[in-house]
C-alpha cells in the first residue's frame, strides 16, 4: 500500500458518517477541553499563587549568606541568563538624632538614639510586592549618598520627621521618606529594631562595613518571564554552584511556613487534577472509539475481503483516530481557551485576568499533542478489534470480532501502560508518581473488570431464577440484556466505574483539602507584635492595647541569654571546632575563609521557623552561637506538643523544654544539661521534655521554655502579640510613641492579609478545579454512555417488530442502564474512597475523615446519569420505523 493511497483512504474514511463523526469529536473534545482548560487554569492559578507568594520574598529567589556571592558567579552560566539581581545588605546599628542645640555655656548634649536595622539596597527593589513609602516615589529616587528612608516608629522615637537629619555611623543623613510597609519583612524574629533604608554609597559613608559589623547579605533574583527551567531546578543548580554551608537559597515557597505546605498542596492537587482529567478524557475517548468502530465492523470486513491486510487497516483506523483526536483537540483547545477567557469575569478572586493567557503557542501545541496522544493511547484497546474482525462477516453479519490473541492483548496493555506512564509522568513531572498512578489505574481497571464479570454471572443466575416469577417485562429484559454474553456491560461498567472512581476521589480530596485549608487560615493570628516592653510598663501597655480595641492579646516574658555549656562542654569551643570543620570543608571546595556568621539574626519566637545557613554544620553552629531568647511559663501554648519526656516533672532540677528540631541542631536530648549565661549569672537547666511547634499559627513560640520560678528575677522584657481591629496598628503606634517610646511595634497585618489572600486563592482554586474536573468527568461519562447506546438501533427495531411499544423498549433499556449505573457507581465509588484515602493520608498527609454524602450522591447520580444519557442516545433509534433499520441491515 503506497503512502498516497494510505492518505487517500484516510481522508475517505473521514467522510460519510458526518453526524457520527461530529458526535465522536464532541465526546473527544469534552475530554480534551477538560484537560486543556484544567492544564491552562492550573498554570494560571499556580502562577497567580506564586505571584502573590513571591511578594513575600520580593523576588523569585533569595540567596542569604554572611558574605556576598562569589565574584566569579555568573548567573548566565548556571542557566539564569536574563535574570536580574539586587544585592541587599542588612546590619544592626545604633542611630541617633542630631545633638540638640546646647544652651549658652552648656556642652553639646547628644541626641536620642535607637537600635535600628539598616537595609542597604544596590539595585531594583522590590521585584514583587509593594514597598509603601511616603512620599510615594521609587526607593531608588529617594535614596542618595546622603539620604535615608526610615520607619515611622523610628522617627517617632527620635522625634524626627521627613527632611530632618539622622546620624548613622556618625554621619549625617537627610530623611528623604518614611517606610510604611515592606513586602518581605515577614519575620519578627529577624527584628531587632525599626528599619532604615540606605543606598550603597550612603552605607559606604557610614564606615560600618569596615568595622567588622555583622552584615548579612541577601541576593534577590528575578527570573526572566517564561524562564524555561523550574524554580526547583534553578534552586538545585544554585546549590551545586554555591558552598552549602555559606549560602542558603530560598524560593518564595520557603518564605512562609503557613504557605509552604499549602503551596505544595495546591501543586500536588493540580498535578492530581491534571492526571485525573487526562484519565477521564481517556475513558471518554476509549468509549467513543469503541462505539465508532462498532459501526465500522462491516466496512473493515469488506476491506479485508478486498485484500487489505489487517496491518494495513490498523494504521488506517489509527490514523483516523489521530485525525479525530486532532479535530477533538482543536475543538477542545478552543473550548478550553474560552473557559479560561470567561473565567476571570465569573470568579474574579480566583485568577487575575492578566494572568490568563489562553493563546500561548507552546501550551496550545501541548494541548494538541496531549489530546492526540490521549486519543491514540486510549483507543488502542478498542482499535485492536480492527485486527480481529473476521472477513467472513461480509457473508455472515453476526460474525463478531474473534477473541484477542494473548500476545496482541499483552502488547496492547504494555503500550497502553507505557503511554499512560509517560503522559502521567510528564503531567506530574515525576516518573515515580507516574508509575504509581499507572499501577493504581491498572489495578482499579482490573478490579472493576473482575467485578463486572462477577456481576454479569450473578445477574445471569438471578435472571434464570426470576424469569418466571417476575412479571415485569422491563425488568426481565433489562436483566437479560445485562447478563447476555458480549452485552458490552463489561466495558460500560469498567469505563463508568473508572469515571465514577475519579469523580468521587476528586470530590473527596477537594472537600478534605478545603476543610483543612479553612481550619488553617490564620484568621485569628496576631496583626502586630510589640517588642522591648519593660516588665513595669506591661500593665500600662496592656491597658493601652485594650483601649485601642485589641481583640486578643498574648504576652510572655523574654530573657536574653547565651548558651555557655552543654553537659559541661564549653559551647564556645564547640562552635570553634564546628567552624574549623566548616573551614576545612570549604577549603576542600576551593573556597577561602569566611566571615563569622550573623547567626544572631535568626530568632526563635513569633514568626516562622528560621534556620541558620543551610547544612547540618551551619545549623548547629548557628544554634550554638545565637543569642538565645528564653521564656518561662507553667503551661505550653496549644500549638506546642510534647513529644518526648514530660513537662516540669523533675523536682530536683531547674528544667527547660526544647523544640525538637532545635534540640537536634544542638545535638542534645532528654537529660542534657544546658548552662546559660544570663547577664553574667550562670543558670543550669536540665532538658526534661522535647516539643514540636506548629509555626504556622503565628503565635508566640520559643525554642527554649524554662519552668516558672527559675528566671522570674532575671533581667527581662516582655513580648506581646496583639490582634487589632483593621487600622488599629497606627493608633497603637501613636499611643505607644507618646507614652512608651522604647516599645517597638512590628505590624504584620499586610503580610497576614497577603497570606490569607493566597490561601483563599488556593482554596478557591481547589474547589473550582475540583468541581470543574468532576463536571467534566460527568459530561464525558454521559458522552461515553451515549456512544455505547447509539448503536442499539437494530435491537430497538427488532423489539418493536416483535410488538414491544416504545415505552416498553425504553423501560427495558432504563432497567439495563440503571443496573449498569448502579454497579459501576457502587464499585467506582468504593475505588474512589480507596483512592481518596491514599491521596489524603499519604499524598497530603492529612487525617482521614469519613464523608458519607459523596457515596450517596455517586450512587444516585451514577444511576440517573446512565439512564438519562443512555435513553437520550437511544431516542433516535426509538423514533425510527423498524423497517428503515431492518432494510439497512
Amino acid at each position: 500500500m503506497t503512502a498516497g493511497f494510505f492518505f487517500r483512504a484516510l481522508v475517505r474514511e473521514s467522510r460519510g458518517a458526518r453526524g457520527r463523526l461530529i458526535f465522536f469529536v464532541a465526546c473527544l473534545s469534552v475530554g480534551v477541553a477538560a484537560v486543556v482548560a484544567v492544564s491552562g487554569l492550573s498554570a494560571s492559578l499556580d502562577e497567580g499563587i506564586r505571584g502573590e507568594a513571591r511578594q513575600l520574598l520580593a523576588a523569585d529567589l533569595a540567596i542569604d549568606g554572611n558574605r556576598p556571592l562569589p565574584p566569579g558567579l555568573d548567573l548566565a552560566k548556571i542557566g539564569l541568563a536574563g535574570a536580574v539581581r539586587t544585592e541587599v545588605r542588612e546590619t544592626v546599628t545604633i542611630v541617633a538624632a542630631p545633638p540638640a542645640a546646647p544652651a549658652p555655656g552648656q556642652p553639646e548634649q547628644p541626641g536620642p538614639s535607637q537600635l535600628a536595622e539598616l537595609k542597604v539596597i544596590d539595585g531594583e527593589y522590590p521585584f514583587y510586592g509593594d514597598l509603601k513609602l511616603n512620599p510615594q516615589r521609587p526607593l531608588r529616587e529617594l535614596l542618595r549618598p546622603d539620604t535615608a528612608v526610615a520607619a515611622s516608629d523610628l522617627l517617632a522615637h527620635l522625634h524626627l520627621r521627613t527632611g530632618d537629619t539622622l546620624r548613622i555611623g556618625g554621619q549625617p543623613f537627610r530623611i528623604a521618606g518614611v517606610v510604611l510597609s515592606e513586602p518581605d519583612r515577614i519575620s519578627i524574629s529577624m527584628t531587632l529594631g525599626p528599619r532604615i533604608f540606605l543606598s550603597g554609597e550612603g552605607f559606604a559613608r557610614t564606615g560600618l562595613e569596615t568595622r567588622g559589623s555583622r552584615i548579612s547579605h541577601r541576593t534577590l533574583i528575578k527570573l526572566p518571564a517564561g524562564a524555561a527551567a523550574s524554580l526547583r531546578d534553578i534552586q538545585a543548580r544554585l546549590r551545586q554552584a554555591l558552598p552549602e554551608m555559606t549560602y542558603r537559597i530560598q524560593t518564595f515557597r520557603d518564605a512562609q511556613p503557613a504557605l509552604r505546605e499549602n503551596i505544595s498542596r495546591i501543586e500536588r492537587f493540580l498535578g492530581l487534577v491534571a492526571l485525573l482529567s487526562l484519565f477521564v478524557g481517556g475513558i471518554g475517548v476509549a468509549q467513543s472509539v469503541r462505539a465508532w468502530l462498532a459501526g465500522r465492523l462491516d466496512a473493515i470486513a469488506v476491506l479485508k475481503c478486498l485484500g487489505m491486510r489487517p496491518r494495513e487497516i490498523f494504521p488506517l483506523y489509527l490514523g483516523q483516530t489521530a485525525l479525530l483526536g486532532l479535530a477533538g483537540s482543536v475543538v477542545g483547545i478552543i473550548a478550553g481557551a474560552a473557559v479560561q477567557l470567561i473565567l476571570p469575569s465569573l470568579f474574579p478572586d480566583l485568577i487575575p485576568a492578566e494572568l490568563i493567557r489562553p493563546w500561548q503557542p507552546g501550551a496550545l501545541l501541548r494541548g494538541l499533542g496531549l489530546g492526540v496522544g490521549v486519543a491514540l493511547l486510549f483507543s488502542l484497546p478498542p482499535l485492536s478489534t480492527v485486527l480481529r474482525v473476521p472477513p467472513a462477516r461480509v457473508l455472515r453479519r453476526e460474525a463478531e470480532p474473534l477473541p484477542s490473541h494473548r500476545w496482541t492483548t499483552a502488547l496492547t496493555v504494555a503500550v497502553l501502560a507505557l503511554g499512560v506512564w509517560t503522559m502521567a509522568s510528564l503531567q506530574a513531572h515525576s516518573w515515580d508518581l507516574g508509575a504509581r498512578f499507572t499501577a493504581g489505574v491498572a489495578l482499579a481497571a482490573a478490579l472493576l473488570a473482575g467485578a463486572a464479570v462477577l456481576v454479569s454471572r450473578g445477574v445471569r443466575r438471578i435472571q434464570r431464577g426470576v424469569s418466571s416469577s417476575v412479571r415485569s417485562l422491563w425488568l426481565r429484559h433489562g436483566l437479560a440484556s445485562l447478563a447476555r454474553p458480549g452485552a458490552g456491560a463489561m466495558s460500560a461498567i469498567v469505563a463508568l466505574g473508572l469515571g465514577v472512581l475519579v469523580v468521587v476521589a476528586m470530590s473527596l480530596v477537594e472537600r478534605r483539602l478545603t476543610a483543612e485549608l479553612s481550619a488553617e487560615l490564620p484568621t485569628n493570628a496576631p496583626t502586630a507584635f510589640l517588642i522591648d516592653i519593660q516588665p513595669a510598663q506591661w500593665p500600662g501597655v496592656e491597658a493601652l492595647l485594650h483601649k485601642a480595641g485589641a481583640l486578643h492579646i498574648d504576652s510572655v516574658p523574654v530573657v536574653m541569654g547565651r548558651l555557655a555549656a552543654i553537659d559541661g562542654k564549653s559551647v564556645e569551643e564547640m562552635a570553634r571546632a564546628e567552624e574549623a570543620e566548616m573551614e576545612k570543608a570549604q577549603k576542600g571546595e576551593g573556597e577561602g575563609a569566611h566571615e563569622r556568621s550573623a547567626g544572631g539574626r535568626h530568632g526563635g519566637f513569633g514568626g516562622p521557623r528560621q534556620h541558620g545557613p543551610g547544612g547540618p554544620g551551619g545549623r548547629r553552629r548557628w544554634a550554638l552561637s545565637r543569642e538565645q531568647r528564653l521564656t518561662y511559663m507553667r503551661e505550653l501554648p496549644k500549638d506546642n506538643v510534647v513529644v518526648a519526656g514530660s513537662l516540669w516533672s523533675d523536682p530536683d532540677h531547674a528544667e527547660v523544654s526544647v523544640e525538637q528540631e532545635f534540640a537536634e541542631n544542638l545535638g542534645i536530648g532528654l537529660g542534657s544539661t544546658l548552662r546559660f549565661d544570663i547577664q553574667g549569672v550562670p543558670v543550669d537547666l536540665k532538658v526534661t521534655s522535647l516539643r514540636t511547634v506548629d509555626w504556622k499559627t503565628f503565635g508566640i513560640n520559643f525554642f527554649l521554655v524554662v519552668e516558672p520560678g527559675v528566671l522570674d528575677a532575671a533581667p527581662q522584657q516582655r513580648l506581646a502579640a496583639v490582634l487589632l481591629p483593621k487600622g488599629g496598628e497606627q493608633r497603637v503606634q501613636d499611643l505607644l510613641a507618646a507614652s512608651y517610646p522604647n516599645v517597638t511595634v512590628l505590624r504584620i497585618r499586610e503580610i497576614l492579609e497577603k497570606i490569607v489572600k493566597v490561601m483563599d486563592r488556593i482554596g478557591l482554586g481547589i474547589r473550582f478545579l475540583g468541581g470543574f474536573t468532576v463536571l467534566a468527568g460527568i459530561a464525558i461519562l454521559a458522552g461515553a454512555v451515549s456512544a455505547g447506546s447509539a448503536r442499539r438501533g437494530r435491537e430497538v427495531a427488532l423489539l418493536k417488530t416483535l410488538g414491544m411499544t416504545r415505552r416498553g423498549v425504553a423501560g427495558a433499556f432504563a432497567v439495563e442502564y440503571a443496573l449498569i449505573g448502579l454497579v459501576a457507581a457502587a464499585i467506582g465509588a468504593g475505588g474512589g474512597y480507596a483512592l481518596a484515602w491514599g491521596v489524603i493520608t499519604r499524598g497530603f498527609e492529612l487525617t482521614w475523615e469519613i464523608q458519607p454524602w459523596p457515596l450517596v450522591i455517586a450512587l444516585l447520580a451514577g444511576v440517573t446519569l446512565t439512564v438519562v444519557a443512555g435513553l437520550a442516545a437511544s431516542l433516535r433509534a426509538l423514533e425510527r420505523r423498524p423497517i428503515e433499520v431492518l432494510r439497512a441491515e
Binding site: T2, K304, C305, A392
Partner: protein, 250 residues
Amino acid sequence: MTTPRIELRHLTRRLPSGDRVLTILDDVDLAITPGEFVAVLGPSGSGKSTLLALMAGLDRPTSGEVLIDGAPIHELSEDQLALLRRHKIGFVFQSFQLLGNLTARENVLLPIELLGQPEPVRRADELLAAVGLEDRGHHYPSQLSGGEQQRVALARAFAARPPILLADEPTGNLDGGTGRKVLELLTDLRRREGTTLVLVTHDVAVGSMADRLIHLQDGRIEREERPGDSRAAANPAANPEGAALVAGRP
C-alpha cells in the same frame, strides 16, 4: 491437463453451536478449471456461503484443503490470505457491501489502488461505463438504487482483473428485472475478462447460465450437472472429466 483454478479436497467445516457441533460442509471434493462458470445451488443452510468463504480464505476448514492455482491456502496467515484475495479474487455479495463513505467511483478504484496498478481512474471509469453507471460515479451508495449498487459492486469486483470471481446470491436482494440485468452484466464481464466464476444461488434459472451446476444438500455435494448436457452425475465419479479434476490427475 491444466491445473484447476480452485480445488477443494475432502473439505469439512464444523462449527460449535451451544453444546453441539454442526457440520456445515462434509468432505467436499471439487475442482474448477480456469475460466469456468460454476453455479452452486442448494437450499438455505446447505453450506453454500461457507463453501464460498472457504474458497476465498475468509474462513478456515476444520479439515481438508483448498488449493488456488495448485497452492494450498489453508495454512496461509491472515496477511497472506488478504494478499491472495487482493491479487486473485473478486467478490459480489447479496447485500452489495459497498463502502458507504466512498463514492461509486472510489469503491471501484479501491482494489486497483490497493494493487498499485497504473491509470486506476481510467479503469474505474471504463468499468462504470460497462455497467451503465458512467454518470453516477460521484454518487454515494446511499444515493443509488439496489440495482445500481450491485452494478457498482460488479465493477468493483472486476476492477483488479482477478482471475477468480466469487458471487454470493448477487441477485438475491433485487427484483426480477434488475436481477436479470445484473446477471447479464456479470456474465458479460466474466466472458470479457476471462474470469473463473463461482456463483452461489438458490435460483435454478440463474444457475442455468453456468457451465456447471453443483447441488449442495446438508453440506455435501448431492449432484453435479452441466446445463445443456443430458448427462447428470450423482457424484463426481460419474463424470470422468470431473473425476479426473477432483483427483487432480491429468
